[in-house]
Amino acid sequence: MSTVSNVEPFKDGFIEALCPELILFAGLILLIIVPNLGKGTVRIPGTQKRVMWLLGGDRFKLTSNPRLPAWIATVTLGAAFVQTILSFQDGVDRTAIVTASGKQLMLVNGFSRVFELIFFGALTLAAFASMNRLEVRGVGPKLSTDDLYNNRRQADFYILMLTCGLGMSVVALAQDLFVLFIGLELASFSTYVLVAFYKETEAGTEAGMKYFIVGSVASGVGLYGLSMLYLWAGSLQFDALASQFIINGTDPLPLIAMGFVIVGFGFKVSAAPFHFAAPDAYAGASSPIAGILATASKAMGIIGLLRMLLIVAAPEASEDGTVWLTLLGVLALVTMTWGNIAALGSTNPKRMLAYSSVAHAGYMLAAITAIGAWNWDDSLAGDGGESAVAVLTALIFHLVVLVAFKLGAFLVLSILESDGDASRLSSLGGLAKREPFLAVAMFIFMISLAGVPPLAGFVSKLLVIMGIVKVAVGQMGAEIMAGGDFGLGDVHWVWWLAFAMVINSAISMYYYLRIGIVMFFDEAEEGRTGPLPRGWQVRFAVLACLMATLFMGVASDKLLEICEVAAQSLNYGWN
């Protein structure tokens, strides 16, 4: 692996390393300025002369177009996405952003690049699809003040999207608790407002409020944990913390701190029992935003957990794995089971998807548990971290493809939402007659979520289960070939997490299938038999998601390699 090249801020190589983020930043500035460009003048002090300075006043025709912010945001996010993809072409270089005194603040490597891909991909699709969601009341100078204010929301909405993306990618890059927390809060605050942005319904405001309150409490608890880590180690740097953990990781202080940190990030990934705000938030937010919460925001929480649990706390790994192993295993089991059971009973499709997202969080926590257990038995392990890389690859792959089918499902609901509402199962009724394409797409997203081959959801679930089994079985295969006789008692207990995942997938089948049945075989609701609202953008986004879901199911080789590189670059604990 290539060595890390250090770059100080605004010096040579800075732009190359942080190109996607800088694109976002430029887009952000454009978004703030462009809608304000107009025929405004300013009087030169002391004279009567007025000069054109282009800010304020009557807007130009182009800049007054309420659709403009959406296009700027989409193009910006899309450019950042493309830039990230291009950076994979000739191998990802590892660049660290360091302070003058040599402390690492951010690290650009395969890991951060893949997560940027997730964030920008999800946000691009959501921004593009949102063009059909936010109401536009006419174009031109003859609008009432109310309408102008309403159009003004457009810019606000997309600015928040960009700050959200910026915050998320900072989390992916962070090598320092402080930077991590800044990024986390930037993204979190953007999502709080975005959730509340759906002001057409009462549920939107309420959801935003709930999400904000619970979210800030969780952030506060997490921050408290981070500050305790600082108190204990005297440093905010990940590598300094990690080396401290090797020396005295069994102190009570860091353990308590880790507990608080798990609470903070557990909320972000909506792990039980910190998930209570999630169904309300998902149900209240407009669907594309709910999709962001379920994919990009969750990926961000997973990064936090990976950084804290695997980099900071993993070097403590002993024979039985890391200190947090049992705790996280229990959390994983409770989360996946709770999510699935709760989803069985929910009749609101968005709440159902929220609970299914909780269940998926459980699968991801199970994967992280398995990573913590990889070194569990010296006699059977000794594969040089190969198993840990396999699980991590699976986890990252899962997060990437989740964008395709989870967000896709929310986008389909988004179209129904603009048709009226999508808060009852029956609002999906008759979709197959109203617009077959959407019904088929939704059905494919559903069975992909359930993990039916040959879709992307199957491959990702298979990989996670494979990773867990690989860890649990270790080198037992070779031992058995040499004549050993082992049973299930000799397999690490994380194998049972894979078993729980399998049973949970079967449970989840019920509510995913129910959606399909309603779409294809129930009649549409009273007065909702006509064609759905038009809007090619959101349908294009759904099509993109559908293609990705199908394609990643049968041709996942390339993406797997990328994810493997990403997994290998997060290699603190195991080599």
Partner: protein
């Protein structure tokens, strides 16, 4: 070169049906009405091409294949392409004496089903779904890679789910969900077993091992290493692990088969499914369970098989007897036929549990014979429902008077299913009985094990004859039409249904009189797979 077989048999039916479905579902109702004819014809022609190809394969038009002498774990038309290199996944297909009869059966049933249900409503989506079903089923039988096997295994659920859901009876929603969830639950447990099996290899020891994981999904390579590991006193994977994996895999296969007590999805699915769905479900899909047993657990875990022999025998006996007893109490024609399938699948399990080469050959031949007879049973039920709008036994009497064609077909199918000599089902049943006698006399089992099959012979005759008596005969001179049709002319079955019945009847007779056409290769194959175990069985197993 014959490396093209997976294209017409698997890839094309799947892709073509998906394209057709996408095309049709985006049109309006009028276009769908107009397209029924061309789409039905295209599906029929294509399935006939597939049948021609598989028949040609049997008669050695494509490559010089000696079907009677295929060594165990050796495959004809073997083709392998790399699919996901990092995980050791290949697109690997091949045929042997186990899979070829099933593939031929699928390609045979596809056109027959299309003809038998020629006038099914919403044909523009129905026929492509049947084609898709065929492609997925053949995919299960030809795949020599565990990943690919599992993908097709689950893929078969989707068209069947829609077939039941859209064309099914009154309780179709309940039935289709139950069918999907039941079999899905079982197969994910099987999947966990497959993955555990995958990781219990010596890393980087098999030729097609993945670059990242060092393990291989290749079935032939796994079987080779299992056979190498099962010699002498040592067992492949060790005794404990074999038993665990055996149970996990068998859960998937027993539910699919289905065996009592995992059979409850089957009557619901069958009663609600449309005729075409039932024909493929009973004809081929149930056999996936038995096929899987032979392909994986039996080939890989002989020790566990021997260990669980008694359990399998009990499950088989219970399925056989329970299925027959429940049949006696049915008033619904289709439900009775569905439970008779459970009973016949018990024959397969008993055949396996005898641990005799002849018993295994009986199981293989039962898979094949039941695959021809049971679609005919369901075609009869479907025609009954279609023309008389009722499925109740006794809803009409004296059918022989006003619907001679249907009465004859019903009688023939019922007789074939109860094991009349010179029809295909008889061959399998008599072989199973002989194998059971062998087991009792050679391995010292109790004679009481014969009671079950003997009882069932009588029970089967009883429920079939009784239902025939109440529907075909009785009812006085003019018969007694169903209540909803009194006063109307009572139609006989349509020409396409007659044609399909005749074809199925012809092959039932053909394989009843000349069973060696298929039996020889099965017999040879089971002898060979058995030779690998004989050392092991000789030393007394566990």
């Amino acid at each position: 070169m014959t490396d093209w077989i997976s294209i017409p048999l698997v890839a094309f039916p799947l892709i073509a049906s998906m394209v057709l479905l996408a095309f049709v579902s985006n049109g309006n109702d009028r276009m769908r009405q107009r397209l029924v004819g061309p789409i039905r014809m295209a599906c029929l022609i294509f399935s006939l091409v597939m049948l021609t190809i598989t028949t040609g394969m049997f008669f050695q038009y494509f490559g010089d294949v000696s079907w009677m002498n295929i060594a165990f774990n050796d495959y004809e038309y073997r083709t392998t392409y790399t699919w996901i290199e990092t995980l050791g996944i290949n697109w690997s297909v091949g045929l042997d004496a186990l899979s070829f009869p099933m593939v031929w059966l699928t390609t045979f049933l596809l056109p027959v089903t299309i003809i038998a249900t020629w006038n099914e409503k919403s044909g523009a989506t129905y026929f492509p779904l049947l084609l898709m079903m065929g492609g997925a089923l053949i995919g299960v039988f030809v795949s020599l890679d565990l990943f690919m096997f599992y993908v097709f295994w689950e893929l078969t659920l989707i068209p069947m789910f829609f077939l039941i859901l859209k064309w099914g009876g009154k309780d179709r929603k309940y039935a289709s969900q139950k069918f999907f969830i039941y079999t899905f639950t079982a197969s994910v447990i099987m999947l966990l077993g497959l993955i555990t099996l995958y990781f219990l290899q010596d890393p980087y020891s098999l030729p097609s091992a993945g670059t990242m994981t060092g393990r291989s999904f290749s079935i032939p390579e796994l079987i080779d290493s299992a056979r190498a590991g099962n010699v002498g006193d040592s067992w492949y994977l060790g005794a404990q692990m074999q038993k665990i994996l055996f149970v996990m895999l068998m859960i998937g296969f027993l539910v699919k088969l289905p065996a009592v007590p995992f059979h409850t999805w089957l009557p619901d699915a069958h009663v609600q499914a449309p005729t075409g769905g039932s024909m493929l479900l009973a004809g081929v899909m149930l056999k996936m369970g038995a096929y899987g047993m032979f392909r994986l657990p039996i080939s890989l875990f002989p020790h566990a098989l021997y260990h669980f022999q008694l359990a399998l025998m009990i499950i088989g006996m219970v399925s056989l007897v329970w299925g027959a007893i429940v049949c006696l109490g049915q008033t619904n024609l289709k439900k009775m036929v569905a439970y008779s399938s459970v009973s016949h699948m018990g024959v397969i399990l008993i055949g396996i549990a005898t641990m005799q080469p002849m018993g295994w050959a009986a199981a293989l031949f039962m898979m094949f014979a039941h695959g021809i007879i049971s679609p005919m049973l369901f075609a009869v039920c479907g025609a009954f429902k279609h023309h008389y709008h009722s499925m109740e036994i006794g809803a009409m009497r004296g059918m022989a008077k006003h619907s001679p064609w249907l009465a004859t077909s019903m009688m023939f199918a019922w007789m074939a299913s109860l094991g009349l000599p010179l029809l295909a089902g008889f061959v399998a049943e008599i072989m199973m009985l002989i194998a059971l006698w062998h087991m009792i006399s050679l391995d010292g089992w109790s004679i009481w094990w014969m009671v079950g099959p003997a009882l069932v012979l009588a029970l089967t005759a009883a429920y079939y004859l009784w239902s025939m008596q109440r529907t075909i005969f009785e009812g006085g001179e003019a018969g007694q039409p169903p209540e909803n049709m009194i006063g109307k002319p009572i139609p006989d079955i349509s020409d396409s249904e007659k044609f399909a019945m005749l074809i199925m009847a012809f092959f039932t007779i053909l394989f009843g009189i000349m069973p060696w056409i298929g039996l020889d290769m099965m017999d040879d194959w089971t002898k060979q797979i058995f030779e690998g175990l004989i050392v092991f069985v000789g030393k007394g197993g566990a």
